[in-house]
């Protein structure tokens, strides 16, 4: 038997995950709805004064993006573990590193990517200055990819636990914090008329680092999780 070529296999996995996500908005969550919902909560909770809201919009938008990523990360591998697909994935002859990357990439496309695309609308709802919107979208697109990769590590380590609850949020929120700082920093810089390039460059560096390392940690975590 010759196994499927690795590229074909990864593409197949990606397609499968995307179809699953699109068939079931609950599972991978509907980050856009969550985002909209929580953005709507902020004026209610903080009071609707437009100027304070606008000045805090970068932080608020980034925090909400981070939370919506946190919530959906948990589910990346869970259903596959429960129905036995994960066992089969680990038995596949192709490198698990790339399979893990495919899973995370699909998750990012369905959450961070969509969110980055839709963020201008929410930014306008909170009264963010239009000048800062490109920086917001760009930082979200880059930053959420890092979040998805890091979140995947937490998901892989906790997926097999019978008594894990939402342990994942404890594990990965600390690792999310640098992304939050530089992400909201980029938008703030754009608001203040400073160059956003350095911020985006740092986020891109984070992304390179996590593309290189996170799938390895995910693969290790999955092997541990599957072992009862």
């Amino acid at each position: 038997m010759k196994p499927a070529s690795t590229a074909a296999f990864c593409f197949r996995l990606l397609r499968r995950q995307l179809v699953l996500g699109l068939r079931r908005p609950v599972e991978l969550g509907n980050p856009l709805l969550f985002f909209a919902m929580v953005v709507a909560l902020f004026p209610l909770g903080l009071g609707p004064a437009p100027d304070t809201l606008a000045s805090f919009a970068p932080g608020i938008l980034w925090i909400v993006a981070l939370l919506s990523n946190l919530l959906t990360s948990d589910a990346v591998f869970r259903s596959d573990l429960e129905d036995g697909s994960l066992e089969q994935l680990l038995l596949a002859p192709q490198p698990l590193y790339l399979a893990a990357l495919s899973y995370v990439f699909a998750q990012w496309l369905l959450t961070g990517f969509l969110l980055g695309l839709a963020s201008p609308v929410f930014a306008l709802m909170l009264g963010l200055a239009p000048a800062a919107i490109p920086a917001l979208a760009a930082s979200l697109l880059l930053g959420t990819a890092v979040l998805s990769l890091v979140g995947g590590i937490g998901a892989a380590l906790t997926v097999g636990l019978k008594r894990g609850g939402m342990l994942i949020s404890l594990l990965i929120l600390p690792f999310y914090m640098p992304v939050l700082i530089f992400g909201s920093g980029a938008v703030q810089a754009a608001l203040n008329g400073n160059p956003t390039g350095p911020f985006l460059a740092i986020l891109a560096a984070f992304l390179c680092l996590s593309i290189a390392l996170a799938p390895m940690a995910i693969a290790a975590g999955l092997r541990i999780s599957i072992d009862t």
């Binding site: 636990l161 008594r163 342990l167 914090m177 700082i181 530089f182 920093g185 541990i224």
Partner: protein, 248 residues
Amino acid sequence: MWTLFHKFGSPPWLYRLSGAILRWLLPITLLALVAGAVWGLLFTPPDFRQGNSYRIIYIHVPAAVVALAGYYVMAIAGAVSLIWRMKMADIAMRACAPIGAALTFVALVTGSIWGKPTWGTWWVWDARITSMLILFFLYLGVVALYEAYENKALAAKACAVLSLVGTVNIPIIYKSVDWWYSLHQPASIKFTGGSTIDPSMLYPLLFMISAFYCLFVCALLLNMRVEILEREQRTAWVRALATERGGS
């Protein structure tokens, strides 16, 4: 060298060695802690700006310093356990986490008590404090992950992965929090520079820091001993020990 490495992998050897070390290290540590506390509390002059509340420094700073170092000890043990599959490294890593969490907790609580008379507030979002809070979360994460796994061999592997991820990340977290703080530049509150500290305060402080390091080693060994016994409970030497000491 290689034989030493192998010896460290041998549970009964480590159990006996740790017993021997603890027999003299533990009393010394406790004595040093008490001596340092008395020195700091009674025999140093008060700070000219903060008065006597600065005496908290003799527990606050050592706890913070050792807690930070503890994370690296834990991560190194995790790496050893993953790469060489050494059981004792598993155990060391597992034992670091609660100790580190306790010390971080001490640093945060004493700091927050210190903050009240000094700055008039229990908490500020300062760079150092914030990153220490994050370190606390990291430690709790390792403890919780370990507790959540039923199979302790797997738990140790999972924690090793997590603490390795942490080692890559901690410098990043620290740098970004520093940068975040400098970006916002709140002018009202500032730590004084540590370099201007007077020798009459510095010596007891250095003494206390060493005592806390010893405390860390003692607690680590104590925790490792229990862990060794629980993991090895089916081996002959543990059962002999149990009939001998637990039989009464």
